[in-house]
């Protein structure tokens, strides 16, 4: 037995060595061939000046920043639209999935029609539809729809007032983190106490006190480092405030509505997979239907739902790369698009782009697997 094991290990080591050697040879060969063709290679471009503008940046960015920073700007934009997309798609998808199984004929049919439409129209078309369809019907900035002269809707997007944070704002951040941590701790303590002694302990009152105290300290340390930045019309466009660009809105809308249709079907299948007896038993215990769904059926359905749900999350993230069609500056648009054609190093740039998507996918899968394990454990314990 033992000698077999050793032979296996040896074999694996040889294969690994061969693979690594092959990779090294390939990389070297690519490099020398690109060189012979006089095509630049390597990653030196990441520190060069980018020189182009981007119309949505979550961190400070100007044309003087490097291509490396462009990668971060693009990645954050991808994350923003993906995370919010996943949030809204899940919310809508679960509601639709439940509605689809409703005993109310009308509600169930409405959900069905929705699912069939949004699942079967190509996503790119839906993105174009929301973008151009909505854009075409919005007024120019000078005729913008105004809400209380502070919020404006026009074909340049939605502009809202924004809190401009000064230097001392970190202290408020610290205070906020403190409140969160305190909240978690209080909740845990309350749960423990309930389990051990059956007594309820106070949560809300101490939390409110903690919040007040922490923010008071922050105010003492930093004063009020916030100024309200209200948008106003100047020349062509609004200045100040926070602008939500139409490209973002259209992409988020399309991704959420499209993915929700798939999630709805997954949720429906998941609920159907839970034994009917569970519902009947809940009814026999006198649980109203909505509570039975929330406390008995869905927790069990989740075990069936989570794996396919994960792949929907991955799909949504990858589909966000269709952004490029409507000029939303996601990672594909700014890196595999503008940067690629300004720098010209296709091999390196596509490689970086693929690695970024791979990491995002692996991260999402990992997080969802952890969640799935937790759900499974809870199920076994009960």
């Amino acid at each position: 037995m033992r000698s077999w094991l050793n032979r296996d290990a040896l074999l694996q080591a040889i294969v690994l060595l061969a693979v690594v050697a092959g990779m090294v040879w390939l990389v070297g060969n690519v490099q020398s061939n690109l060189e012979r063709q006089n095509i630049n290679s390597g990653f030196g471009f990441l520190s060069e000046r980018a020189g182009f503008g981007i119309n949505q940046t979550l961190i400070d960015y100007t044309e003087d920043d490097s291509f490396g920073r462009v990668v971060v700007v693009g990645l954050l934009n991808t994350l923003l639209v993906s995370v919010l997309g996943i949030f809204f798609a899940t919310l809508l998808g679960f509601s639709l999935g439940v509605a689809r199984l409703s005993r109310n004929w009308l509600i169930s049919k409405i959900a069905m029609v929705y699912i069939e439409i949004f699942r079967n129209v190509p996503l790119l078309l839906q993105i174009m539809f929301w973008y151009f369809g909505v854009l075409r019907n919005l007024p120019s900035p000078r005729q913008a729809l105004s809400i209380g002269e502070a919020m404006f809707v026009s074909n340049r997007g939605v502009v809202v007032p924004w809190l401009e944070a000064g230097a001392g704002a970190v202290w408020y951040g610290v205070a906020f983190a403190g409140v969160l941590a305190g909240g978690f701790w209080l909740r845990r303590r309350a749960l423990k106490m309930k389990l051990n002694t059956g007594q309820a302990s106070r949560v809300w009152r101490p939390l409110a006190l903690l919040t007040l105290a922490l923010f008071a300290v922050a105010a003492l340390l930093a004063g009020v480092p916030f100024t309200l930045d209200v948008p106003y019309l100047k020349g062509f466009n609004f200045r100040g405030g926070l602008t939500v660009i139409p490209e973002f809105v259209a992409l988020l809308l399309a991704l959420s509505l499209y993915t929700a249709a798939f999630i709805a079907e997954i949720v429906r299948a998941g609920i159907n997979a839970v034994d009917k007896g569970q519902r009947e038993a809940s009814a026999a215990l006198g649980l109203p239907e909505s509570l039975a769904l929330r406390l008995v059926v869905i927790p069990q359905a989740l075990r069936v739902i989570i794996p396919p749900l994960t792949s929907q999350y991955l799909n949504l993230t990858k589909n966000s790369s269709l952004a490029v069609a409507i000029a939303y500056p996601d990672i594909v648009s700014v890196l595999a698009g503008t940067t690629l054609s300004q720098v010209g190093q296709a091999v390196e740039i596509i490689f970086v782009t693929m690695m970024i998507y791979l990491s995002l996918s692996l991260l999402t899968s990992w997080a969802m697997n952890r969640y799935n394990q937790r759900m499974a454990l809870v199920g076994n314990a009960s």
Binding site: N29, R136, S140, E247, V324, G337, S341, Q342, A346
Partner: protein, 344 residues
């Protein structure tokens, strides 16, 4: 979808770069031989820019860049139809030529130093002298690009346009927001629906894209020319024979115009005793053979697409919807920049 195409092109490049072991494979002049063996020229063009390269309802391509590739095919095969056109977006074009998907790109592409020296491509010649400009709605009441402070600009990704706009606004201390689309049609559509105050690209393309707007008359092109955009065909670096062929295809059509040779008077001109005309027609000297072509190469070009003046007027000139004057693209003898070295 575009992403897949990009990955596909890049994969082609990677395969080529990985598996080429012999060091001579790409360096020597093989393109002409390759094209002749294949029986047609593979030419990269735009996805649709009136006057330069645009497919009509029957799917056949027209435009000055299209005519450039047709002229090449006429010179090589004595048959201008032996071209396969591949539409490429601005950001795909360089990968497409690097990976060998096309033999030549004639796609309103600016010759810049970075592209020439870092991308493994060569720009043999300039077939259209251009410069970047802006188009705005007439009712904005703007007369100059310097009044564009705070404006939103629609344009195309991966172009010199994107960079020039950034430079121009910054050096004039003006603010701007840029919305950069992958495809030209979408950026025009977005401008058309009011997403942007201005649409910016090469001047020639402004006139071309204007035709796609709902009401072309409601828009004006501002007078400023903010950059130099020498547009020309490009090829892979390292094949100087192929370079020569591209260069002299353009020069043959310029020389013909200079000498008054057109597609209509070829027969009459072939009897001319003017030595310059006799050389162009391949009656004296061995110019064609030196290019690896037949004696008649220039006649074949002019017979099928005409001289440069004819090509210009047919695709861009004042009688077309674009209505562009010769301007900088007039012959040097008429005060323009188009100048061919002598055929001798």
């Amino acid at each position: 979808m575009q992403m897949f195409r990009q990955i596909f092109l890049c994969f082609g490049l990677l395969v080529m770069a990985t598996l080429t072991v012999s060091s001579t494979a790409h360096a020597t002049g093989q393109t002409l031989e390759l094209v002749q063996k294949r029986g047609h020229l593979k030419c990269g063009v735009s996805q649709g820019l009136p006057g330069f390269s645009t497919p009509d309802d029957r799917g056949s391509w027209t435009g000055i860049d299209v005519d450039f590739c047709k002229a090449m095919a006429a010179a090589i095969f004595n048959d201008a139809s032996k071209v396969k056109f591949t539409p490429l977006s601005a950001k795909e074009r360089f990968t497409a030529i690097q990976s060998g998907e096309v033999d030549i790109i004639a796609r309103n592409t600016t010759w810049s130093m970075h592209r020439d020296t870092a991308l493994g491509v060569d720009f043999p010649v300039i077939n259209y002298y251009d410069g970047q400009g802006f188009m705005v709605r007439r009712d904005l009441g703007i007369k100059s690009a310097l009044e564009l402070d705070g404006a939103t600009l629609c344009t195309n990704q991966g172009t010199t346009t994107e960079l020039n706009a950034a430079d121009y606004f910054r050096s004039n201390a003006m603010q701007y927001e840029i919305v950069a689309f992958e495809k030209a049609d979408e950026s025009v559509a977005a401008y058309n629906s009011g997403r942007c105050d201005a649409y910016t690209t090469d001047h020639s393309a402004l006139y071309a894209q204007k035709l796609k707007l709902t009401d072309p008359k409601a828009h004006i092109v501002l007078p400023e020319v903010i950059s130099k955009e020498p547009l020309g065909p490009l090829v892979r670096q390292g094949d100087s024979a192929w370079n020569d062929l591209v260069r002299w295809t353009h020069y043959a059509s310029l020389t013909a115009e200079e000498l008054g040779v057109t597609s209509k008077n070829l027969k009459k001109m072939s009897r001319s005793s003017n030595p310059a005309i006799r050389r162009l027609f391949g009656l004296d000297g061995s110019f064609g053979a030196n290019l690896g072509l037949s004696k008649q190469w220039a006649v074949q070009i002019i017979g099928s697409v005409g001289n440069y003046g004819e090509i210009f007027e047919r695709n861009l000139g004042v009688k077309t919807p674009l209505g562009i004057k010769r301007g900088a693209n007039a012959l040097w003898t008429q005060g323009g920049l188009q100048y061919a070295p002598p055929i001798r």
